[in-house]
C-alpha cells in the first residue's frame, strides 16, 4: 500500500477538529479528487464502505449528497452546500448528517510544495456536544473495523 504520510488529527478548539495529511501529488490533482464525483466515489469512506450515492454540484451555492454504505449494509447519508471555492487552494462548505443534529462548516486548504500537497480540513461544529457525538460514532466504526481485522488474523492463524 502506498502511504505518503500520516494523518494528524487535532482539536484546535472545543468546537473544532482539524485533519492534516500530505499527498504525493500536485495540488490540482488532489483538489479534483476532493470535488469530482467520479473520483470521490473511488476513495471516500474507509475499508468496507462504499459511496452508493454521490451527487455533486460543485459551485458556490451548489449542493452535494453522499450516501455511504457500511459493511453491515447500514447507510449513512450526508448533504451540504458549497460556500466558497477558490480552486485549487481552498474551499468552504456546510455539511450535515442525516442521523445527527446540527450543521458543521468544513474549510479545506491545499498547499503544494515540491510536488506534494498538504491538505488541512478544519471542521467547525455547532457545539462541543455535537462534535463529540460525531467522533464517538467514528470510534464505533473504527472499533468494528478492528474486530474485522482481528477476525481475519484469527482465520489466517487457524
Amino acid at each position: 500500500m502506498i502511504n505518503t504520510g500520516t494523518l494528524e488529527v487535532t482539536t484546535p478548539s472545543d468546537r473544532e477538529i482539524a485533519l492534516t495529511r500530505v499527498f504525493d501529488a500536485p495540488r490540482q490533482m488532489v483538489f479534483d479528487a476532493f470535488s469530482k464525483p467520479e473520483l470521490l466515489k473511488r476513495w471516500f469512506g474507509p475499508r468496507g464502505w462504499s459511496l452508493v450515492v454521490c451527487e455533486v454540484d460543485f459551485r458556490v451555492g451548489g449542493g452535494f449528497r453522499f450516501v455511504m454504505r457500511g459493511p453491515d449494509g447500514k447507510d449513512m447519508g450526508m448533504r451540504g452546500v458549497y460556500r466558497e471555492i477558490s480552486a485549487p487552494e481552498r474551499s468552504v462548505h456546510m455539511e450535515s448528517f442525516d442521523d445527527y443534529p446540527g450543521e458543521s462548516q468544513v474549510t479545506a486548504v491545499f498547499v503544494e510544495r515540491n510536488g506534494k500537497t498538504t491538505m488541512t480540513a478544519t471542521v467547525l461544529y455547532p457545539s462541543q456536544e455535537i462534535r463529540d457525538i460525531v467522533i464517538q460514532t467514528g470510534m464505533e466504526h473504527g472499533a468494528a473495523e478492528s474486530y474485522d481485522k482481528l477476525a481475519e488474523l484469527l482465520a489466517e492463524a487457524a
Binding site: 499527498f23 471516500f44 474507509p46 470510534m139 466504526h141 473504527g142
Partner: protein, 84 residues
C-alpha cells in the same frame, strides 16, 4: 513537582498550571504528603481521551490510503497523456 519539572525546560509555575489542567480534566489525581503533592496518572480516562481521537483518525486514514492509490493512478495516466 520539582521532580516532575526536572526533565522539562519550563518554570515551576508553568508546570503547576499544566498539572492543574490535567487534574481538572480527570487525567491525573493529586494527593498530599507533607511538602509533596504526588501525582497519579488516571489510566482509564487518559486511554479514553487518546482512544476517541485515534479511532476517528483511523476512520479517515483508511479513506486517504485509498486516495493515495487513486492519485498514483492519476499521475501515471497524466504522464501517458503528456507523452502522446
Amino acid at each position: 513537582m520539582t521532580e516532575l519539572a526536572k526533565p522539562f525546560d519550563m518554570s515551576q509555575p508553568a508546570i503547576s498550571k499544566h498539572l492543574k489542567v490535567l487534574e481538572h480534566a480527570g487525567l491525573i489525581s493529586r494527593g498530599r504528603d507533607a511538602q509533596r503533592r504526588p501525582c497519579r496518572i488516571e489510566a482509564q480516562p487518559l486511554g479514553q481521551a487518546c482512544g476517541w481521537l485515534e479511532n476517528y483518525r483511523r476512520f479517515w486514514e483508511e479513506s486517504f490510503e485509498r486516495l493515495d492509490t487513486l492519485l498514483e493512478e492519476m499521475k501515471k495516466k497524466d504522464k501517458k497523456g503528456k507523452k502522446r
